[in-house]
Assembly symmetry: D2
Homo-oligomer: 342 residues x 4
């Protein structure tokens, strides 16, 4: 397998390179960057060391070079709206795993609400599928474009989908999510400086104002009855990790056992979801892992859901590789860690 | 004024000593500790330096010494159930400002639910009042025992009370709170070590399981109609600070203007509450300050409330001194900071 | 007293505003900024709150406004080489306390080595003095321009000067310094992002390469015999604080008692230096304080010195106010904290 | 291969389990603990997840069980002086890789100075060797007991040994080392709490007072001429990582090229040492990696050395597995990461 990474100098690109360097099915990795093409990888990402030596030349390459090499897979870690433009030469030729939002929300109104303009390539929508690996395995197997889910949507949808699809919950869904700072990207912004984020916590873009609200809402609605949902993200001073606390009500007659059974049915055999029952997950338990940990708490007819992922792994680059594994029929866990930190 | 601090070696005690050292109305401070009596303050709390020199002997004293000195005010930073026992000699003689939970929840069932046994001194309940300074100023003026509120209840009740008292909200109240690690106290516990808390976020004691649920529920219910409330605290890796995100619904006919007006009426002239409108507060803005910052977001008939305090200042020791100021007729801001960090 | 702060939107400016807001001798504060003039202070520095309300209009002002107001003191928190240019209108009219490097190193070669061009205003050098408050009190009393020392030089010189001036040490001086990230300023740089600095430690500009080497070397040399000195700074993931560990040798015949006596003679009565003997200071003990803590360790004829300051307080804005206090004959501690955190 | 880990509930034990779970040559892992035998691994180390499932029963076992199983390798992550006692049943039967200090310093006086009593098993000293993998490969191949080096000694000796052995340096060696908090172990101590360590930096046990001074001094002296050495460790608020800055002088006639050549000769082909020349390493570059990064700076005849490792990987568990790999003739990098974080 020959794979390329577009946008190698951002955080998701850096994680992709680390995973691909150690992926047994990947023989050639092409780290690409429009702004830094020609630069030595060791200068751009000094921590990577010699890990990729056997699989690449040690230099960032430009788009033309990638194009000429005809890679089997192109991972795009580029910004939304830019991504589908830059990937144009690869559509129909390579499998494109797009970590941007460009193919995640086919609904034009919802996409526009979030990104200010319509989804860029509706013409390709039929060739694409949403890469929430635990739910769209069959579609992934046949897709030429895989829309890798956002970090918040992954952590929010995984606990909600088994319950929403079976109609076990009702009423307003109140989602509070807490993200590490890498989720904001590698940008030269005052409000992302160590001094501004350390010893600091705050909510932002509450209710329906965050772009990921559209993505969560769209994929939740596909599961059946449309439930009102408020999504409030918060920044917390950790490098990597997302925790989500979700509140909703059980439908009449639904018991704690029903909840547990639905989770078991959905995820009981899946390598990257761990069901914790009444134990509440901590983000360090999934740090550097492609796992999503899920716990829950039932009180009368109220339900609280707790989920935790590493935003850069299961919430981005790890799931992208999981999608590649599924797409090409490799073992789903190939190259990915199932264990976290301590 | 002669004041004593019981429990000087915990975090709230340490903050109390710093505030009292610089309080213009306080001439003598007696830092007491049962476990470390006789120890030099400079060994127990090296950061304090010479700040208290003019007001104390530089040594931790025992209870007997405090008793003999007949202080005007006794601040108790002792654990719940212990506090009211140790304060016994001072009831009726000094004004007792109790930072423990012992007098916060007069309802026996609610107190027992939280602390495992009935409130210890119901006989003194009439002499006590709840020291949420912005709401009980008149009662504080006459109380001999002031039950200083918990950190989570302070940050949760301040945004909710103006709305609940006026009946502007309805439905289930979903509270998600995020606390710095000092909120767990200065205890030799593995789960409070730097390595376990750094780069880690998690919920704990969700729904109605945290002790502060009883305190919030009790004082919210006193405001009128009883609303169902879920309270889920989270630990975030900061030293000091609490942020609270609260979700509920507006009563029919209530508008964003009505919310703003209720806040203005309640807090417009109060020095320690800042109303931010649609700006969402960050915990660093109130760090080391006795201020509570409040913001809100209305969307259709849904309301999101955002509040931030320093858990050790407005959430504990600062509010305790604010209560002393109110009780003795000093300027409410005496010795207290109204500005935070950056 | 009417005072102005040039460069109010950087970290040192923000600390200055906090100290001046509470300084009893300061009636009017003019927060100035060339880039943000006209902006509301509450937007630029939301943590400040209403603290300055009684002393300013709540808006950042431009240079012209400051000029017209004829302030008694101008604090310049501007970058080096810019500062002396922008302060031009105030020389000879206001006391200028310059937190930049422009007047710190009169030696042309040393200054040029550090800043790439000669010291900008040698013509004013005679009107200026180095504002290391514990050593130049007499000069400060008469200076119209006070060159406020750098953060590293303050923390390095305070433990070394009493020994170097008395000739108690010999041989190579090896200085290792560790600074919080605010020391690098409030700049939109990738390498200052939370993700890059958190969980990270590294040295930079070692030996004689850091600009502050020139400043330390110059003022150490003025104390007598010129000793070779290596200065290696490190970035550590804290917001504020500098710790310095210095190694050198004792002159023959000098004992631990001699060292202790020299420290006592230099600082025994000074409010902002605390001598800890064999106790090693921690940066949290001086956090938010204008204090420098000093400890030492003697082993055979080897000496290790340990010092700690808050880089933004004693290392910048606090010392600037201390200098104002000294210059105008106020109590040296007016408006400044002598205690740190815990 | 069947391997056991004694002391599975400490930080080094937790890292060992993660590495061994993924080591291709290890079929059975026995996680042992005297205090928690019988407990489920998922409760003791929730982050580990199912990673070890195929290689162990998911429970901590007791010593008797380990003994009966006759493991090929016993990793002991027990405290010094305890370790050699508990390992008694395995000496001569399994290869013992001892992460404690018990076999690191054969010199009785130096060991006693550090640990308060003589080295416990001098009778076994001949069967043991010091497991600094880059220097004692031949001895490791034949040893039955491998004394895995301390974290500080690993990071300090790797840059110094190539120069000391060739006699390229002279004069006093001044070592300043900076360690993440996990280096202090997983102990219920107030001074390791998040609140005490976060936003804090300090030196401790300076000069020759830290136990690792003896270890460094002993192994440095074996390299030839005995050079005086001061070693001052510091705690910095990161979870994992050690940076070391070392100052010494070049022997007359030694040039920067000579230094570079010595490094290249020693490490040019070694997978776990990266030579950076004048680039200074950052701890994040080696985080979670078994690599040691080394940089240097020459100025006149002064030399500054910079090294960085992950204290729990190359400084403990990673090097232990590297030693197992060498001892059993596996590829040296098997199961170990050569890349760090970003």
């Amino acid at each position: 397998m020959k794979v390329a990474v577009l946008g190698s100098t951002g955080y998701t690109g850096m994680v992709l390179l680390r995973i691909l360097a150690n992926h047994p099915q990947v023989a050639v990795v092409m780290p690409a960057s429009s702004s830094r093409a020609g630069a030595a990888l060791r200068d751009v990402d000094p921590g990577l060391g010699a890990a990729l030596h056997a699989k690449c030349d040690g230099e960032l390459v430009d788009l033309e070079t990638v194009r000429a090499a005809k890679p089997d897979v192109v991972f795009s870690a580029l910004p939304h709206l830019t991504s589908s433009k830059v990937c144009e030469p690869f559509f129909g030729k390579s499998v494109v795993i797009d970590l941007s939002a460009d193919f995640r929300v086919p609904d034009a109104a919802l996409f526009t609400r979030a990104y200010g303009e319509p989804p860029p390539r509706v013409d390709l929508q039929l060739d694409s599928c949403y890469g929430l690996a635990e739910w769209y395995g069959k579609e992934i197997l046949e897709a030429d474009i895989i829309a890798n889910p956002g970090c918040y949507p992954t952590a929010t949808l995984l606990p909600l989908l088994p319950l929403a699809r079976k109609g076990l919950i009702q009423g307003k869904i109140v989602v509070n999510a807490f993200s590490g700072i890498s989720g904001a990207g590698r940008k030269e912004q005052i409000n992302l400086l160590f001094h501004e984020r350390s010893e600091n916590v705050n909510a932002y873009n509450p209710g329906t104002k965050h772009r990921h609200w559209s993505e969560i809402h769209y994929h939740l609605s596909r599961s059946g009855k449309q439930l009102p949902m408020l999504f409030t993200p918060h920044l917390v001073p950790i490098k990597q990790g997302i925790a989500v606390t979700t509140s909703c009500s059980l439908r009449d007659g639904v018991s704690e056992e029903g909840i547990a059974a639905a989770f078991k049915e959905a995820y009981g055999t899946r390598p990257f979801v761990r069901l914790l029952g009444s134990t509440i997950p901590e983000t360090r338990w999934v740090r550097n892992s492609n796992r999503c940990d899920i716990g829950w708490h039932v009180e009368d007819q109220e339900l609280l859901l707790f989920s935790a992922i590493d935003n850069l792994v299961k919430g981005a680059s790890g799931q992208a590789v999981q999608n590649m594994n599924l797409r090409f029929g490799f073992d789903e866990t190939e190259g990915l860690r199932t264990y976290g930190e301590f």
